[in-house]
Amino acid sequence: MNALIYTSALGIICLLAEIFNLRKLIIPIAIAGLLAILGTVALDWNADNSIREAALYNMLRADSFSLTFSGLLISLTVLLLMLSTDFYKTEQAKISDYIALILFILAGSLAMASFGNLAMLFLGIEVLSISLYIMAGANKHDKRSNEAGMKYFLMGSFASGLLLFGIALVYGETGSFDIVEIRDFIATHQPTSMLYVGVGLMLMALLFKTGAAPFHYWAPDVYEGAPMFHTAILMTVAKIGAFAAFYRLFSACFIPVMMPFGWVLSIVVALTITVGNLSALVQDSFKRMLALSGVSNAGYLMIAIVTLYGKTDNAVFYYSLAYGMALITAFTIAILVYRSSETESFSGFNGLAKRHPFIAASLTIAMLSLAGIPPFAGFFGKYYIFSEAVRNGRMWLVIIATINSIIGVYYYLKVVFAMYLKESDSNAAPLQIPVIYSVVIAITLTVILAVGLFPSTVLGWL
């Protein structure tokens, strides 16, 4: 539960490292530091944290949900940092700033995964968002990147305003920022309309942050405009962090007032999955396709919030793990392909299987996992979430989601067809594959396969 403090300190160390001319050491220091922090999270797992929680006035809580999600977010960041060694090769002058921002993004998402107080939730979302606005607009000379940064900034600050407004109304009703006190107040009092308005405003802000329809309009443009590596951060750490906050807030506080929101949320979920899927279907750019499939994946995850009454937290964790690992594999390969072919469309992948069978096979596994084909991890993620929803009587939602995941197979396999069945241009240069990228792909593939073959080990964690 001290992971938040250590991560923030590590970010500041990275900023200071530039003064001492340690630019080359920044990424190794950051990775080693994060691995150590991962160790402290593992130590917290068996420890009794109640005294330390009380010392921090329950601002952060070290329950099994927050610890597993902290571990997942830290691991994803380690993988992303491994990719960054090569991505920032040409931007050595800014490397300390970028790495520090990535660590601050992690700090924000850790606060969002383990908050015990609405003040920490808001600050976590703000730290995450402010750093992400900068990351989205990082490529100053690219108009699309400027547009992405500006658009994300304007809409994101509006959503933050809604969140703050909602928190204020909930505070006005319950008289507390602490999630346990809010839960106890709601459980013992008749909820009033002010509370509903507050919860509704917070819900809108969180739907925006997770990129769910009808608040998803920023997502494709921002994800497409940002530099490729930053899109990977946006779609993995930021999205999983936002979703963890969403799930945590509603499962910890607002189950008793969920009744009027149940139908609204169900419709939002159905809309999110369908809109994301149908828009992804017609895309020509691999990056934009992944961005829109990210929208529909947020929808699948939100089924778990609709069916909060059951124990869905381990299914949510499992899905997030499978989703994060598959996306990192996909983005690693997309960065490599983009660098050699300078195109983000599917044609860049043409004939990749002949030139690089290992890379093509890895991307195929990642895509199959995202599409939800057994025996890969993505299938069981969907399976557990859907079965919880069926158990809670949301059959129609599951039917819509299943139809959509069948549609999803088409666009996920588009890139696979391009790799295996189409001929490459005769002058296509072979990919330059740095060793560290192969290591990242090997790690993520191992996780996808291991988690897919032995799902019960992960499900038992929570």
Binding site: A111, M120, I134, E173, T192, S193, M194, V197
Partner: protein, 171 residues
């Protein structure tokens, strides 16, 4: 007496807020917004939140408004440059804002304000009480704000830093 001051301040705040939105000249908008902020600061004083009132004036009426005016001057925005928005966008904006107002008023009207606490702590809005709360109970968020400020500072430097080899793509 307090009630009349409250009424006066509330009317002033609403009037200034409306004028902020409806004035055609952006500089007038900003001036009215400053008036609105002062009226709200007056509300804080009525509630004995002296620290909040002072900070509100320093931060909003002082720093942020100066930034607004500065930006307006830099970008030379005047009436002529303000583009006309499509009617559909205007209508939908009015409808959604009106719906939000309606829901908020309806919700607040139905809500029973919870019973006032029996012992009102009069020092609650003073600097001393606030400092004690911030550095005891809210120490962790208080420190975490520094990360927020630091990351926005890093971002500002990152965006403003001149590149060694500027590419001429962007005019």
């Amino acid at each position: 007496m307090t009630f009349y001051i409250f009424l006066f301040l509330a009317a002033l705040a609403v009037f200034c807020g409306l004028m902020t939105v409806t004035s055609r000249n952006p500089v007038h908008s900003v001036i009215f917004l400053i008036g609105c902020f002062f009226a709200i600061a007056g509300h804080y004083l009525l509630l004995n939140a002296q620290f909040l009132a002072v900070v509100h004036i320093i931060v909003y009426a002082g720093a942020i408004m100066v930034l607004f005016l500065f930006t307006l001057m830099m970008m030379n925005l005047n009436e002529a440059s303000e583009g006309h928005k499509p009617a559909l966008a205007r209508i939908s904006a009015v409808v959604s804002a009106g719906l939000l107002l309606f829901i908020l008023i309806a919700a607040l009207k139905k809500t029973e304000p919870f019973a006032p606490p029996l012992t009102i702590d009069h020092s609650i809005g003073l600097v001393k009480a606030l400092g004690n709360t911030l550095l005891n109970e809210y120490l962790l968020p208080f420190e975490f704000v520094s990360i927020l400020l630091l990351s926005s500072m890093v971002g500002a430097v990152l965006i403003a830093k001149r590149d060694k080899s500027p590419k001429p793509e962007l005019e």
